[in-house]
């Protein structure tokens, strides 16, 4: 890869600022490997839970103008088998890998962290933002700054890997939540997870298209929301940020970097532009730098921070 694309994240050297985010192509070592081989600078596993989960019944995905809805339902082989895939990945690659884990209590997050400690994972990501754990009135786990603080700090106490907190866009006080994660000791933030959730209806069958009725939005429609939330977080915290949400082109990546992200996740664009999306965007980044006189991605300027 081109050294002008190189960057650093929490001490890890990345060949590109592009990251494969949790839930996309991350079920198997080979899915991670092809993403890294094709140009992702870092890869993330599917969010792993203590027990295997088969996820929701299909349809689990539905497209609309501007993106997709998904209600995968956190299907994953469980932490044990999931980490075995990570170990197999690390045998054949030196691309840094994030293991994403999901739970609904500090206790389970701690149990997951212990497993990750004894694996070859490079970083640990806490998925605090899955839209499938809303209570009946729709409150996500990461909507409470106290809960976020508590989970992050108890994981930090024992984690041997750097800890990334993945936050939800669907909260009232995103800046406060970002500050709570930082205060809890998070080494970095990852935002945003899917927006909504939303629903689509089949008008002939008079039924929701997703069997789970609701699913999180991802894809181009998210970009403005993601840019705003990353920018807002960047303005208040002093830890690095993985920015994602609707990023599909080199110019999108530059927007995300300017909004304050250190590195950038590419999820749904793996569908819309193919798995070669990483190499395509790397090329577009180089072209942008050539056209605008930037030497390397790390020299790209950022917006002035928001006054807060």
């Amino acid at each position: 890869m081109n050294e002008r694309l190189e960057t650093k994240f929490l001490g890890f050297k990345l060949a590109s600022p592009l990251v494969l985010p949790a839930g996309v192509m991350g079920m198997s070592f080979s899915g991670l490997k092809i993403s890294a081989d094709l140009g992702a600078g870092m890869v993330t596993s599917k969010s792993l839970t203590l027990q295997p989960r088969t996820g929701h019944k299909g349809p689990v995905i539905a497209e609309f103008e501007g993106g997709i809805l998904n209600s995968m339902g956190l299907c994953n082989p469980g932490i044990k088998d999931g980490l075995a895939e990570i170990d197999e990945f690390k045998e054949g690659s030196d691309t840094p890998v994030i293991v994403s884990v999901f739970a609904t209590s500090s206790r389970d997050f701690i149990a997951l962290t212990e497993e990750v400690n004894s694996s070859s994972a490079d970083l640990l990501e806490l998925n605090l933002s899955c839209p499938n754990v809303y209570d009946e009135f729709g409150i996500p786990l990461s909507a409470s700054k106290d809960q976020v603080y508590e989970i992050v700090s108890s994981v930090k106490d024992i984690s041997q890997k750097p800890v990334i907190a993945k936050l939800s866009p669907n909260v009232l006080n995103p800046a406060e939540i970002a500050l709570a994660a930082e205060a809890g000791g998070a080494d970095a933030l990852c935002l945003i997870n899917t927006v909504g959730p939303g629903m689509l209806i089949d008008t002939l069958m008079v039924k929701p298209i997703l069997f789970n009725k609701f699913g999180g939005l991802s894809g181009p429609c998210l970009k403005p929301v993601a840019l705003k939330l990353v920018y807002q977080a960047y303005s208040v915290v002093n830890i690095p940020i993985i920015g994602m949400g609707g990023i599909s082109t080199g110019n999108d990546v530059v927007e995300m970097l300017m909004a304050g992200a250190d590195i950038v996740g590419i999820g749904t664009a793996v569908y819309s532009r193919g798995i070669e999306v990483f190499s395509k965007i790397n090329a577009e980044l180089l072209q942008f730098m050539d056209e605008n006189g930037y030497k390397s991605v790390i020299t790209l300027p950022k917006l002035e921070k928001l006054d807060v």
Binding site: S30, V60, P208
Partner: protein, 268 residues
Amino acid sequence: MKNRSTLRIAEIRKENFDINTYRFNFDLKAKPGQFIMLSDLRGGEKPFSISDCTEDHFCITVKRVGEFTKRLFSCSPGDLLSIRGPYGSSFFISAGKVLLVGGGYGTPPLYFLAKHLLKNGAEVHVVNGARKAEELVFCEKFQKLGINYENTSECGRLKNSGTSIDLVEQAFRNNSYDFIYAAGPEMMMKNLQDKLGKLPYEFLLERYMKCGVGLCGNCTVDPLGIRLCVEGPVLSKALVEQLTEFGNYHREASGKRIYFMKTDKGKK
């Protein structure tokens, strides 16, 4: 996925006691080997290969195996189903002398392929296998294509012979082929592969599919990481040969690996 459509079943044809063909009058613009994701929006969306496709209509041929396919068997013509696709890679359309090896519900997509091969001037031989003769499907349809009768009539002889691999060996003794195509149980294809030597081939593989569009990663095959819903389900020899998981294991809905039983030649 832009192409999700809600279509009425135009016709249901019973192929045998647990295989039905469903026709939809819709111009799907599919190529042989491609599949659709099908749902009744009542829980479950499943991949099915296209067994025929013209400008007026397309068909899928479904084996009743579990909850979802059972519900399909209680559908009637006129019922609505949600369809997205066509998805995935398609077969190379050869012009030489070719052999098609189908097993179980793997045979119907080869019928769609055969029609395109014939149009392209290929000489098409077909071996159609099943555990029991009454399970064989599409025999008459293949025969009606007017292709090598000897071979399609092997259907009947299955009662006597062992497996479709026996029929393949027999075909090889009498013919030299330019290209081999196969679809059916994975262990059948694994066994077939051993017989093919340097012959070029394409196999239609199956893995558990959820999104169907290359995002969830459930259908990737090791160690290449290619997705059977996008880069597959039809893979060429060059790729199949690199697959350490081929004939070895697959991943279920959770992503957990499930190993094929070495004796299990009928199921994938």
